[in-house]
């Protein structure tokens, strides 16, 4: 068990003739949490989608938990133990319980029951809401449904796309706290965010700018580096790019 959880090397992704990821390389070791930072449109979501197999890699290689999955279907990647929480994160018209069950579809009924109990133990608030349409819940509860849905399959890697989207600061703090708990369980995390608060829940970070990785390192290295600051406030950083 020494292989990395996620290994992306020199990946390129394009929509038609619009290239959105260029030469992206990134390694996430098992049991660590990595935060992908970047502005809107920088390519964070695209990277996650490429890892999940929604978008094909035009160039480069990709392996998950030691398996080369460049050609593998999304379903195969999910079976390997990869779980993905999109920005939407759930099926709005379906009930909370149906959402959770879909998180581990294909599992034996008795197992599903156990996992449901587990999920309700972690988020007891959801018990009362289990028959309600997931889309009718509050933003914070929806994130909890999304996270529990992803955990139902007992994944070893969890990818999350902007878990803070649409949440008020109070709920953002809650989500971060939950991620902190998850880290302790040894789950590998890859979280794409605009919100820098999530650094608190990560070991490593990388910064994506215009489809390229402009920084990669530990949180400590990041704090010494001006790149992060530039990606968001980038008053001087971009000028350097432009003049070069």
């Amino acid at each position: 068990m020494t292989q990395s959880a996620i290994e992306v090397s020199s990946a390129g992704v394009a929509y038609g003739n619009m290239k959105v990821l260029n030469d992206v390389s990134l390694t996430v070791e098992q049991g660590t949490a990595m935060l992908i930072l970047g502005a809107n449109g920088a390519g964070k979501t695209t990277l996650l989608k490429a890892i999940m197999g929604f978008l094909p890699l035009r160039e480069g290689e990709l392996s998950l938990l030691g398996h080369n999955v460049k050609q593998a279907s999304t379903a195969k990647r999910v079976k390997l133990g990869i779980s993905y929480m999109s920005e939407l994160g759930l099926f709005p018209p379906l009930s909370v319980e149906d959402n959770l069950k879909l998180g581990c579809h294909g599992l034996h009924r008795r197992k599903v029951k156990e996992r449901l109990d587990e999920a309700y133990a972690i988020f007891p608030d959801l018990v009362a809401r289990r028959k309600e349409a997931a889309g009718s819940l509050s933003g914070g509860q929806r994130k909890m449904v999304g996270i529990s849905k992803c955990l139902m399959s007992h994944p070893s890697v969890l990818l999350m796309d902007e878990p803070s989207a649409g949440l008020s600061p109070k709920y953002v703090a809650e989500v971060i706290a939950v991620l902190g708990e998850l880290r302790k369980t040894g789950l590998t995390l890859l979280v794409a965010e605009q919100n820098v608060s999530f650094l608190a829940a990560a070991d490593n970070a990388c910064v994506i700018e215009s489809g390229r990785i402009s920084f990669r390192g530990t949180i400590a290295e990041l704090e010494d580096n001006t790149t992060l600051h530039d990606a968001f406030f980038g008053l001087e950083g971009l000028n350097d790019h432009l003049d070069s």
Partner: protein, 301 residues
């Protein structure tokens, strides 16, 4: 001799009861169209032709193999599912990824509809097919002192349990749950590892099977089937599905019953105009409330 007020009341009562019976059948007839739309966002314009095929199937089964039509309702299902899977894998993979998918799929299934109609006519002739009314229980049933044709009860009586079965499948089984997941958001479904191609193919088969098995009863309700009535049935099914909201199976149930009542009322009060009912309904609904009765406005623009 009842007085005029009494007569009017009886007519009203008749059109409501007969309408509900007819409506249950039409809800069943339309359900497959909605399922296929919900899963694949495709309007199956060959839907009415599948209904027609079901009728012809029942006719063959009755005269060649002496199968009771009520049994035929069930027998046609596995054959249609198989046909649906074959059609799905033959047509859909080439279509997905096209730029104007919606219109192209519409035209494509229009072509399928033409082929089915032509093949049926070539193979089985252009005649209307009937089954003897005594092949199903045929005593009129009296309710509130009025007689209602037996075939209306049989059609509703066959449709109702099959609809219940369908709802159980959709809401009570893992595959049904996956189907609803794909209907809700196919990307999200892919994200949890659902093979949405497989789910779509199965739904396509089931959608067609719902059509053919309703077609068996259509022989009795419509007084016969002929190869060219497919498009007309497709329009009715579309009217009902849109009326209730595309993609919502409960809406189709509601739409079917309301359609049945409207149709029977028109039969009672303005017989020669009753064929206009589905057309006026479809135009009225898509122009005034395109999201349907149970629909929420989801798209801006």
């Amino acid at each position: 001799m009842p007085n005029e007020g009494k007569l009017a009341y009886l007519l009203f009562e008749y059109s409501i009861i007969a309408g509900v019976l007819l409506g249950i059948f039409y809800a069943f007839l339309s359900m497959g169209l909605n399922l296929i739309f919900g899963v694949q966002k495709i309007i199956n314009l060959a839907h009415g032709d599948m209904v027609m095929l079901g009728g012809f199937g029942a006719w063959e089964l009755y005269y060649t193999y002496h199968v009771n039509p009520i049994l035929a309702v069930v027998i046609v299902i596995p054959f249609t599912v198989a046909l649906g899977l074959a059609l799905y894998y033959l047509l859909i993979p080439r279509l997905s990824g096209a730029t104007d998918m919606e219109t192209l799929s519409l035209v494509l299934f229009f072509g399928v509809s033409q082929v089915i109609e032509a093949l049926t006519t070539l193979g089985l002739g252009n005649n209307e097919r009937n089954l003897p009314i005594n092949s199903i229980p045929s005593h009129p049933i009296h309710v509130l002192g009025q007689a209602f044709a037996a075939e209306a009860w049989v059609a509703a009586g066959v449709s109702l349990p099959l609809l219940a079965l369908f709802f159980f499948y959709l809401y009570g089984t893992p595959l049904g749950r996956q189907t609803r997941a794909v209907m809700a958001d196919s990307n999200e479904a892919a994200a949890v590892g659902i093979d949405s191609g497989r789910v779509s193919a199965i739904s396509f088969g089931i959608g067609l099977a719902l059509a053919t098995s309703s077609g068996v009863m259509a022989i009795f309700v419509l007084g016969g089937v002929n190869p060219s009535e497919g498009p007309g049935l497709t329009i009715i099914a579309f009217a009902i599905v849109v009326f209730g909201s595309l993609g919502n199976p409960f809406g189709t149930l509601l739409g079917g019953v309301l359609f049945g009542i409207a149709y029977e009322a028109a039969q009672v009060y303005a017989t020669s105009w009753s064929d206009l009912v589905p057309l006026v309904l479809v135009l009225g609904v898509i122009l005034l409330k395109p999201q349907g009765l149970l629909g929420k406005r989801t798209r801006v623009v």
